[in-house]
Amino acid sequence: MITKTDVRHPIIELSLARLREWVREPEAIFWAFVFPIVMSVALAVAFPGQGSRLVVVGITSEPGTRNEPGTRNAGAALKLRAALEGVEAIVLRDVSAGNELRVIRDGDVHIIVVPGDPPTYRFDPDRAEARLARLVVDEALKRAAGRADPWAAREEPVVVAGSRYIDWLIPGLLGMNIMSTGMWGIGFSIVQARLRKLLKRLAASPMRRSDYLLSQMIARLAFLAPEVAVPLGFGALVLGMPVRGSLLSIAAVCVIGAFTFTGIGLLAASRPKTLEAISGVLNITMVPMWVLCGVFFSASNFPPAFQPVIQALPLTALNDALRAVILEGATLAQVGSELVRLAVWAVVTFLLALKLFRWR
């Protein structure tokens, strides 16, 4: 019989089917596009430029409630207030004595100053912002008390685009998003198809099993483009993140990363028979990577003994490659070792998935 014009290659049809199912699922669109934007906006609000950081100083306003030397002096409180009020970087809060521990714990104030002569500082020395607050307050009070500086250094503010936390963060979020959208999308759709016995039906047809798994990867790529473009564009245009690498290199890194996490998603979904089981497998796979792989803070915070493991994880490789290409303008050759690590993960997990996959 003649091949009819409306018959396309199975990989094309399978990829189209996957894509259609995906775009017809409103929740999927939310997680892929809206969520990263909401996340970026929230972070932009939470982490404004470092220059505008304020020091929040609490003043206990109930003199006499404590049996400490000097607190009986009500005039000391007024003097203290006057000395700190004029300082630009300082915001003052009144703190009642009973609330001191709570506001420090919650980070509502960075330091508490107890009026007196001399005043008392209460702060948590383990917190960077508290140590900074101590310096700022100490400087302001001593200056008000008449300290004379022997000299004043000349200051040259240097603002380097790309050195802000938000600039560092966005590529990490991008990497995390490529991981989670890929793995959740693949994992759930496959386990659902297994539950509905659709996989069994497909396996009973002449469909090549590798075609099915490959088409999951290909369909994943089609919805990768907008998913990467939206947060990247938002970061560059709204938040002013520099994009120094070529768009082609960035795209290449994203595509390789997406392949990797589709492979891992296929492997994760190769056996589970219930949605609960696949959720567990995905969480166990992804949550450690959120923590270890430099999404919110640098992976170098972990001790050297952890580093070999951390460097071997695919999300570390993807995040490092994205940061190097986006923020430093690295070429693909310069992130070659990361890309090789990603490719190895992609190939090995795909082949394992093909071998372990349960069709019924």
């Binding site: 019989m1 018959v7 659709l198």
Partner: protein, 255 residues
């Protein structure tokens, strides 16, 4: 491709299959001729589905020989997949694909076959062409599953309880599609626990119980074998045959 004298569409001998302690198929043998419609009739749990899935190459038997269209699963799986049409029990096709998209997908797996438009017409779903699968009635879903099974113009159609749960009108509509497939020379092996379905569609019926064939013949032969007018005061049915053989009703085991 097709063997020269391939009179048997299906032949299996001494099939055994157990799941743990449960013996699902216990030495079952049967032969289906080309061009006939053959029914496996029995209550739920009789081993019908296990048997048909072994013949479909989905399950491996613990013991026994299977030959389908003169080929074996061990050596000719790829060719067999191309020449068989399969409808499984309770497959749910993708909810958010349309009827035409679903058929087009299955059609893409086969080297030969009719167009999507022709398949839609055969199963009488032209009007539902662009409806999502989750908007279809039970009967329409079964006809869509049948269209997927027919997508490769199969020589042999395996159907596992094709009309379970359907209303009478939907069942008759589906029977019509199957009768036209037969008329065009196709072979069908189906399982059912509806004796009326077996009586309407099947040339021959094997009554299966506890993984074994306990009676085999045309529906008329089986009914005629009923000796006792004590059972049959009305016209005999396959239900009566089953009862006289086992002392149970066919649908006793239904949930």
């Amino acid at each position: 491709m097709s063997g020269v004298t391939e009179s048997h569409a299906v032949r299996c001998a001494a099939l055994h299959k157990r799941y743990g302690d449960v013996v699902a198929v216990d030495g079952l043998s049967l032969t289906v001729q080309r061009g006939e419609c053959f029914g496996l009739l029995g209550p739920n749990g009789a081993g019908k589905t296990t048997t048909i899935e072994i013949l479909e190459g989905i399950l491996d038997p613990d013991a026994g020989d299977v030959e389908v269209l003169g080929l074996t699963w061990r050596t000719n799986a790829a060719e067999l997949r191309q020449r068989l049409g399969i409808q499984l029990q309770d497959t749910q096709l993708a909810d958010k694909l349309t009827v035409a998209e679903t058929i087009r997908l299955f059609r893409a797996f086969y080297h030969r076959g009719q167009t999507v438009g022709e398949l839609l017409r055969i199963v009488e779903l032209e009007g539902k062409r662009d409806s999502w699968v989750n908007k279809l009635s039970g009967g329409q879903r079964q006809r869509l599953a049948l269209a997927c099974a027919l997508a490769g113009a199969p020589d042999l159609l395996f159907l596992d309880e094709p009309t379970t749960g359907l209303d009478p009108q939907s069942r008759r509509q589906l029977w019509g599609v199957l009768e036209r497939f037969r008329a065009a020379g196709g072979t069908i092996l189906l399982t059912t626990h509806y004796m009326d379905e077996a009586q309407v569609l099947c040339d021959r019926v094997a009554i299966v119980d506890h993984g074994r064939v306990i009676a085999l013949g045309t529906p008329q032969e089986l009914i005629a074998k009923l000796t006792a007018p004590r059972v049959v005061t009305h016209h005999g049915t396959l239900e009566d045959v089953f009862m006289s053989l086992t002392g149970r009703h066919l649908r006793d085991n239904e949930d």
